[in-house]
């Protein structure tokens, strides 16, 4: 690397005599002169000191926010939001900003390597020709039915390519999984929609158009579904109408970032969210007069209040506010769905929305439109389905497994046994960009480009009412010797010949993408192109293609209210005095742990940096003789995990919470060996829709006697008044 020196690398060049020469030149270099090496062979126009901006799509989560990346002399310098993209309208979240630290991460897989399931990352490079041959051999030497594909939530074009390939050759359809979707309980949401409305699809909650929002555990300002879009909605809720500021109540056992922005945070017993929704619904229905719909008839608000540990007045107050509101809205989500009765909760909240009569209304509930080149909504695999897949792997029915864009060894609860299942698969080929846990457990790592070096597209599942396909293009040429997985698969399929070659008759990835875009040529949308080449050029330039107008699926919710809901109490697995609440870290999310600036960001609610913590109510902590930074052991029926205590003033005394995102055993220097993974204590429990009941555990807490000082941005003196007894 040392010969690649540019103007901005001056300061790094000061050599041994730095101190002496610095006297002469201020902060200047040891030598006035440096050799300016070109970064790569680049065309003339990139070499004149002017920035070039490229539109692409963010790959830090699956929400498909559009990005404009500023590049200069072949480097990506800054990520900005794409103002055209209907999902984010020019805005980005912290993770999107830090995607550059993924691109220029010092711990990327730089070459294709034969990992051989070694404990440490293998660094000896193979050639890409050999790599393609390995993939081709895997295609040829196995029966198609024994080939498994495990894909992440992004990118969609690769999913399409693999789906096409699998379909053509008779392989099982690719399994798609993402830890965010696990914590979002997507299966539960769509199942509830199906049960109650008779329509499958992803509901979209128009927070911005509403004037009172009741959120039942939905952490929509953090990582839930499409955080940037929902945050914009939240801003509109507050300031959209200059005369009326929208009101927001959050029911959640812990004050999350979302709850902290609520006007009222009501800490109810975990698992009672559905009941509370029904109780408020009943109060509303009664106040409105007329018959109470069947769905609500069976609940007794007073009893529910007692059960949920909240005063009836609060519920009545919420009901009053709803009655006064023009566009009330209720959102189910987060930990409320990750309960054994999650499906009931989702149905109850949707029924509540039906009672409020806000389907297809401003400030109400929509079903998200399908993306432009999509025939149906492909829901990611639920945890139950993943368990089935794991069983399949264990049974030996999978002879070769291709993994891309997902890290199940880390993300899935240990109790599901993915790592063991992986060991029983004869050949595992990973396309990971980073040496994550799953990649290390593979036979080969054939690194894909980073998202900013890649072609592709991503469908917008939710986040906007416009049907949107967000386009991706490389903003810089690949920094390392990586290759697009789509290209590898195409090359390997052609090398394997036969039906494989027939399945992927494309020159390369771009050729494939254009074939998928062909259907949009001539359609009215964000731009109109008469033929595919023009379309592809515009597609790159605009960062995607989207319909100009909102186009949602019409919900026919006539029978939603007439249905009787089966009230299911939440069941908690295991023993112990605490409900265990894992939540996704708002700043790190699923894949942020290896980006140093994301680690350095303070968690919004606790301001902890670079580590994992356990949130415990001050009273409880006092009872257990725990103080800040005491390392505790959390023991569930499925396992145990250790992390330092953060005495958190806004959590139920019977609940402890822990963020997901850290605790990597691999994944580069910034992530490895840092913090703990709450997934280690999660058991094999699912709700009726097959999603993991991640919040349905009871745990014991044991003091270990060890202290680990958590790095906090906040003061330990000024914010709580510890040791001072005055002000603040």
């Amino acid at each position: 690397m040392s010969e690649k020196i540019s103007r901005r690398d001056f300061l790094k060049l000061a050599s041994v005599g730095a101190a002496t020469t610095a006297v002469l030149t201020g902060c200047g270099p040891a030598s006035r002169y440096v050799t300016r090496e070109p970064y790569t062979k680049m065309p003339e126009y990139t070499y004149n000191g002017l920035s070039t901006y490229y539109a692409t799509t963010c790959r830090e989560c699956a929400a498909a926010c559009g990005l404009i990346v500023r590049t200069m002399q072949g480097r990506a310098i800054k990520v900005e939001g794409n103002k055209g993209n209907p999902v984010n309208l020019g805005k980005t979240c912290a993770r999107g900003q830090a995607t550059l630290h993924g691109l220029y991460n010092p711990d990327r897989v730089e070459n294709p390597v034969q990992q051989g399931r070694a404990k440490n990352f293998a660094t000896e490079a193979m050639t890409w020709d050999a790599a393609v041959q390995v993939v081709a051999d895997a295609f040829k030497n196995n029966d198609p039915s024994e080939i498994g594909f495990l894909l992440g939530m992004a990118p969609d074009h690769l999913f399409d390519l693999v789906s096409d390939l699998a379909k053509s050759v008779g392989a099982p359809a690719p399994v798609r999984f993402g830890v965010l979707s696990m914590f979002e309980s997507r299966a539960t949401l769509s199942k509830a929609a199906e049960n109650l409305l008779g329509q499958s699809g992803m509901p979209f909650f128009d927070v911005g158009g509403s004037d009172i929002v009741l959120s039942f555990g939905a952490n929509f300002l953090e990582t839930w579904l499409s955080p940037v879009a929902y945050t914009r909605g939240f801003a509109k809720l507050r300031r959209g109408d200059p005369k009326h500021r929208g009101y927001f109540i959050q029911f959640e056992s812990r004050m999350s970032l979302t709850a902290s922005r609520a006007d009222e945070w009501i800490p109810i017993l975990p698992g009672t969210e559905g009941l509370v929704a029904l109780a408020i619904g009943r109060l509303v229905a009664e106040a409105k007069g007329g018959a109470v719909p069947r769905a609500f008839a069976s609940v007794d608000p007073a009893a529910v209040a007692t059960q949920a540990g909240v005063s009836l007045e609060k519920l009545e107050h919420a009901a009053t506010l709803i009655l006064d509101a023009q566009h009330p809205l209720a959102i189910p989500g987060g930990a409320a769905l990750g309960q054994s009765n999650g499906l009931f909760t989702a149905e109850a909240v949707l029924a509540f929305n039906a009672l409020l009569d806000n389907f297809n209304q401003t400030g109400g509930v929509y079903l998200s439109p399908l993306a432009p080149n999509q025939d149906e909504y492909h829901r990611p695999a639920s945890a139950q389905e993943m368990t089935d897949f794991i069983e399949k792997m264990k049974s030996g029915a999978v002879k070769v497994l291709f993994v891309h864009g997902v890290n199940p060894v880390f993300e899935l609860p240990k109790s599901l046994g993915f790592a063991e299942a992986l060991a029983s698969v004869p050949q595992v080929i990973s396309f990971a960009t980073f040496p994550d846990e799953t990649a290390l457990a593979s036979d080969y790592i054939f690194p894909d480009h980073h998202g900013l070096e890649s072609w592709g597209y991503q469908r917008v599942v939710t986040g906007t009412t416009q049907s949107t396909l967000s386009g991706a293009q490389p903003v810089v040429s690949p920094y390392f010797n990586t290759r697009a997985t789509a290209d590898v698969l195409i090359a390997a399929a052609q090398s394997a010949g036969g039906k494989f070659a027939e399945a992927l008759p494309f020159a390369d990835e771009v050729d494939f993408i254009q074939s998928k875009l062909a259907g949009l040529v001539g359609q009215e949308g964000s731009f109109l192109a008469p033929e595919i080449n023009t379309f592809a050029a515009y597609f790159q330039q605009h960062g995607g293609w989207w319909k100009k107008d909102a186009e949602t699926q019409v919900i026919t919710a006539s029978n939603a209210l007439s249905k009787s809901l089966k009230v299911a109490p939440a069941e908690f697995a295991g023993e112990g005095e605490f409900y265990f609440l894992p939540f996704v870290s708002p700043t790190l999310a699923e894949a942020g742990a290896n980006k140093p600036w994301l680690q350095e960001l303070a968690d919004p609610t606790t301001t902890v940096m670079w580590n994992t913590w356990v949130e415990i109510n001050p009273e409880t902590a006092h009872e257990l003789h725990l103080e800040n930074d005491d390392v505790v052991k959390i023991i569930s029926e499925a396992g145990e995990v250790e992390a330092p205590v953060y005495v958190y003033p806004a959590i139920r005394p019977d609940t402890i919470a822990m963020p997901f995102g850290q605790g990597h055993t691999a994944y580069g220097r910034y992530a490895q060996g840092r913090g703990a993974n709450p997934a280690d204590v999660l058991g094999q429990h699912f709700n009726e829709a097959g999603d993991l009941a991640f919040a349905g555990m009871r745990v014991k807490v044991e003091k270990t006697g060890v202290k680990k000082i958590l790095s906090r941005l906040e003061s330990r003196i000024g914010v709580y008044g510890e040791g001072m007894g005055e002000e603040h």
Binding site: A19, I717, G718
Partner: protein, 477 residues
């Protein structure tokens, strides 16, 4: 026997003897012999001296130079400073050493101006402290800086940018004041040293001869030379006093000019000056006790009467310090500003509250308890301990003013404690360097201004008023 002795003390003759014994100025000695004694004190070096010297050299090499090198190369991060305590022990030490340096000027200038005769044998010992203390203060300031290699920007040097230092900044004033003070106190140390160097030149051989010859500048003691010297010393004695006051006042302004709760106080100037004298006198007493105890012939020059006199001064200064402290405290307390009150509470009840109480005990309670008694304050080891405690107390005072007060500001989100890092070896290093310089100086230059003591011998005599014999001083100068 004892009774006899007691009785005999009342007799006229033995009282006179007693006066002569206790008062250096009444106990004259031929100049030649006195010179001999001073030279002997410089030449007599025990193995203990060298052992301590070697140990201190190691400490200086590690604590000061190695640690400082690391500090420069790795950045200030290896020290304990953080947000919000951007200033740490470096500034504490700076203020502390400048405080120590005040004693020299106080003793040799103010006491000279007021013709306090007891000053004579130890003016030089005190002036050496001024210069060496300022060297440590300068070190501490430069250690504190993030990019010390650019510190020349702080001095008004003509440059192609036409950019001069910012004289709005108290730090610029500080730099000017400390430079002025360092230069003037060094000159003030050197001028009265010339005759003694000439003396040493006349009585040495070998390299010492050359050394003293260079330093004595060819002084012979002609009438002209003495006249110029005396004139210069008079000017210095008067002019260096305002400089001394200005230095510590400006140091206090570094704090008082800031918009921070607790710092923005108009009384900080005199409060710092008296604090400086407090620690300075304490340090002088310590040095004198050590010099008297370890160096040959020094118990002739430094006698309990000197400790007694300094002890009285210390008592007065301690009272003054308490007065200013209380003045500062009650005004801040009464003002009732939210942040200031928080800060005061933090001082007393915060995690470092013990330091606040220790400061009051060491600076006020202990000196008051011990120094009122003439006998106690004449006892070298006892007053040494008092001096030591005062210095610890004064260091605590600066520690409370700098890092502890910095923990509290108007942004409670950033409040944070300060934990020293490499400041500790560096602080020990400056202390060791101070002692090392002093030890080297004690072997190289006459610690006692022989000519001034001799001059004093001419001034003093005994006179009888009726039955009483008293000491009288004539005004020769």
């Amino acid at each position: 026997m004892a009774e006899n002795k007691k009785h005999s003390e009342h007799s006229h003759k033995s009282h006179e003897d007693h006066l002569r014994e206790t008062h250096l100025m009444l106990d004259p000695m031929p100049r030649g012999k006195m010179n001999e004694m001073v030279m002997e004190s410089m030449h007599t070096t025990s193995w203990k001296f060298w052992a301590v010297f070697a140990l201190l050299s190691v400490i200086v090499a590690w604590g000061l130079f190695y640690s400082w090198g690391r500090l420069i190369l790795e950045g200030v991060g290896i020290a304990g400073v953080n947000r919000p305590s951007y200033w740490g022990i470096f500034l504490v030490n700076t203020v502390f050493w400048i405080g120590i340096s005040h004693a020299g000027t106080f003793i040799s200038a103010i006491l000279r101006v007021f013709k306090a005769e007891f000053r004579r044998p130890f003016t030089r010992a005190a002036e050496l402290m001024t210069t060496f203390g300022l060297v440590q203060a300068g070190f501490s300031i430069f250690m504190h800086m993030g990019r010390v290699w650019l510190s020349y920007w702080l001095f008004p040097i003509p440059n192609q940018r036409q950019l001069w230092p910012n004289f709005h900044s108290p730090l610029s004033w500080d730099l000017l004041a400390i430079t002025t003070y360092l230069l003037s106190s060094t000159m003030y140390l050197f001028l009265p040293l010339i005759p003694d160097l000439a003396m040493a030149r006349d009585r040495s051989t070998g390299w010492r001869k050359t050394f003293y010859k260079i330093l004595a500048l060819g002084f012979r003691g002609t009438e002209g030379e003495w006249t110029h010297l005396r004139n210069a010393l008079n000017i210095f004695a008067f002019a260096i006093i305002p400089v001394m006051f200005s230095v510590h006042t400006i140091v206090s302004w570094d704090f008082a000019m800031a918009t921070r709760p607790g710092w923005s106080s108009t009384i900080f100037g005199p409060y710092f000056v008296i604090g400086a004298l407090h620690s300075g006198m304490g340090a002088v007493v310590m040095v004198l006790a050590v010099v008297r105890g370890t160096m040959k012939n020094m118990n002739y020059f430094i006698r309990p009467e000197h400790f007694e006199a300094i002890g009285k001064l210390m008592l007065i200064i301690s009272m003054g310090w308490a007065y200013f402290f209380f003045n500062d405290y009650i005004v801040q307390w009464y003002g009732g500003d939210k942040w200031t009150k928080t800060l005061l509470h933090w001082h007393e009840a915060g995690p470092m509250g013990w330091m606040w109480f220790a400061m009051l005990i060491f600076n006020v309670a202990i000196p008051w308890a011990i120094l009122w008694n003439k006998k106690w304050r004449s006892t070298p080891w006892l007053i040494f301990i008092v001096g030591l405690l005062i210095n610890v107390g004064m260091w605590f005072e600066r520690y409370i003013i700098v890092p502890i007060s910095l923990s509290i500001n108007r942004m409670p989100f950033t409040w944070r404690l300060y934990e020293p890092g490499i400041e500790i070896p560096l602080g020990i290093g400056t202390l060791a360097f101070f002692v090392l310089l002093y030890m080297a100086a004690s072997k190289l230059i006459p610690l006692v201004p022989v000519w001034e003591v001799q001059e004093g011998h001419m001034d003093h005599s005994l006179k009888k008023f009726g039955r009483e014999t008293v000491v009288t001083v004539s005004d020769l100068e």
